[in-house]
Symmetry: C2
Subunit: 315 residues, 2 copies
């Protein structure tokens, strides 16, 4: 067995994923823990509980963390690094705890082409990872899409995170499914229906300029008039949201999207929905697994910190 | 005192408003009762409790009701009348209870210019009332906006309700204010801030084609980066929603809107917000009070039923 060299931690709002890695970033063991929200006020204890066994075996190890652990609900606030953000700048801006034995990767802020400020936290590490997993991303301009509660559309330029735009499609889908009269009772509990999702995408493609706000009531009207079964409402709504997101992004990032395929980084189910929608709008896609990207990004940060002698373990 | 001739009832989801009227539709007295949702299963008893005193004094009186009392959560279901819908067709399609002593006005359905089905219930009566309060609406094509939980954009054509489009701006504002990370805790409780609302309208006007889904996260980013106080978040979000609704409707109904002013029918506060937004987009507006319009619409239906001998009171 190779020797444990460091610990990677992907610490989002609802889950902590810890990875024991060797010097070549190979994963030797994994653990899960409470998310940043549930561990509020006890982040240090939560981390120690997760890694105590590993340190007992291997001695003190450096830890690199990313995600909401660096936010207002986290352990310490790691201020947003203004874009453009490359691995070196992100590593250098990471917040040191315990004399550098624990590092938290900062989020990134930008002012995007809408003239709006925007922020990401956690995704910056996935994007670094995507660049290290897919070397083609390290040169030239590319469009990435990271679907999620807060979907990010990101332009990377010669290996650095440039501007980006957040579309809270997942959060709005969740609100509409659970609380609105549009989707209806318990419709969110049903199994996704692919044909309903596709029908909604086709609706968006017919009239791509129509505002989402002017589309969603259709889900209620179709149910009331008997044109759609209750069980299809959530999938149809999902298609309207993902379709509107893709249609709008295709306009905003027309140049970057036309230059090549769109790189999708995230969890399999969400990535599949966005790949379907992007395909329906004529875009090629390439998928990069989100969890693998997070780990690779933490590895890239760790590598830089090691080389620069910024990571010490006092034991 | 003039003699009581009939009873009008505007019975929405959350409130029942009863009006005792004379033969000229002058209001002699008013009562309030539980909304259609709270009175579920007990609508008949709720109505009788509201009107018993009046009938004791005046003898049996005919009752005309509109709104959610005719929906799946109501007393009986009054099926949607397909547009175009004029006062005569709506009166003729009203559902008779108690041998015609109680009439419930049906909702209206249409297939709009997006090719989507749409429905209204309660608004059809307000629109009839608006036409009777404002005779200019009885000839030619006009654009009406009825702001609310489910804002309706309605084309009326020579005195009949034609096609319409529902924008659930109020419901989505409510969801985002109460449940989302965009607006933030308790921001919905603060007093509305006019300058924040105006700033958001200006943002929408800068780039009117941008999808709402690509705008709303700005409310969170500005707060996180210290560019906006927490207390302004709800008003800014309201401006983005109303602005996006108006910008989208201005594209969809460009011809009708360009022909003249937009008629706003509704409650004072919401109507004011939409008047401000429509003004910012260069449209003239004329306001018609929503409660007065509902009553006038019920009066128009009552008048037709009387003339046709469709309203009997068996006592």
């Amino acid at each position: 067995m190779t020797r444990a060299a460091w610990i990677a931690g992907d610490w989002g709002t609802s889950r902590l994923r810890l990875y024991l890695c060797d010097a070549a970033n190979k994963v030797l063991d994994t653990r899960q823990g409470r998310g940043a929200a549930a561990a509020r006020g006890e982040h240090e204890r939560e981390l120690d509980a997760g890694i105590a066994g590993w340190q007992q075996d291997a001695g003190p190890l450096p830890v690199v963390l990313c995600g909401m652990v660096g936010s207002t609900i986290g352990w310490v606030q790691a201020p947003y690094l203004p874009a453009p953000a490359d691995p070196q700048r992100l590593a250098a801006a990471s917040v040191a705890l315990r004399a550098g034995a624990v590092r938290i990767v900062p989020g990134v802020s930008c002012r995007n082409r809408l003239g709006a400020p925007d922020v990401m936290r956690g995704e910056e590490t996935q994007i670094l990872g995507a660049m290290s997993l897919e070397p083609a991303l390290q040169r030239g301009a590319h469009l990435l899409c990271l679907p999620g509660t807060h979907t990010k559309w990101v332009v990377i330029d010669d290996g650095a995170i440039g501007e980006f735009l957040t579309a809270p499609a997942g959060e709005i889908f969740d609100l509409l499914s659970r609380h609105s009269v549009m989707v209806g009772d318990a419709a969110g509990e049903r199994a996704p229906d692919e044909s309903a999702f596709q029908s909604a995408l086709a609706r968006v493609r017919e009239l791509p300029q129509v505002e989402l706000l002017h589309r969603v009531f259709e889900v209620r009207s179709r149910r009331l008039l008997g044109e759609m079964p209750e069980a299809h409402a959530a999938s149809y709504m999902s298609g309207l949201l993902v379709g509107s997101d893709v249609a709008g992004a295709a306009r905003l990032f027309a140049q970057e999207a036309a230059a090549g395929k769109v790189f999708l980084v995230g969890a399999p189910e969400l990535v599949r929905a966005y790949a379907t929608a992007l395909g329906a709008f004529g875009f090629g896609t390439q998928v990069i697994d989100g969890a693998a990207a997070s780990l690779a990004g933490l590895g890239a940060i760790h590598g830089f910190l090691q080389r620069e002698g910024m990571q010490r373990v006092t034991g």
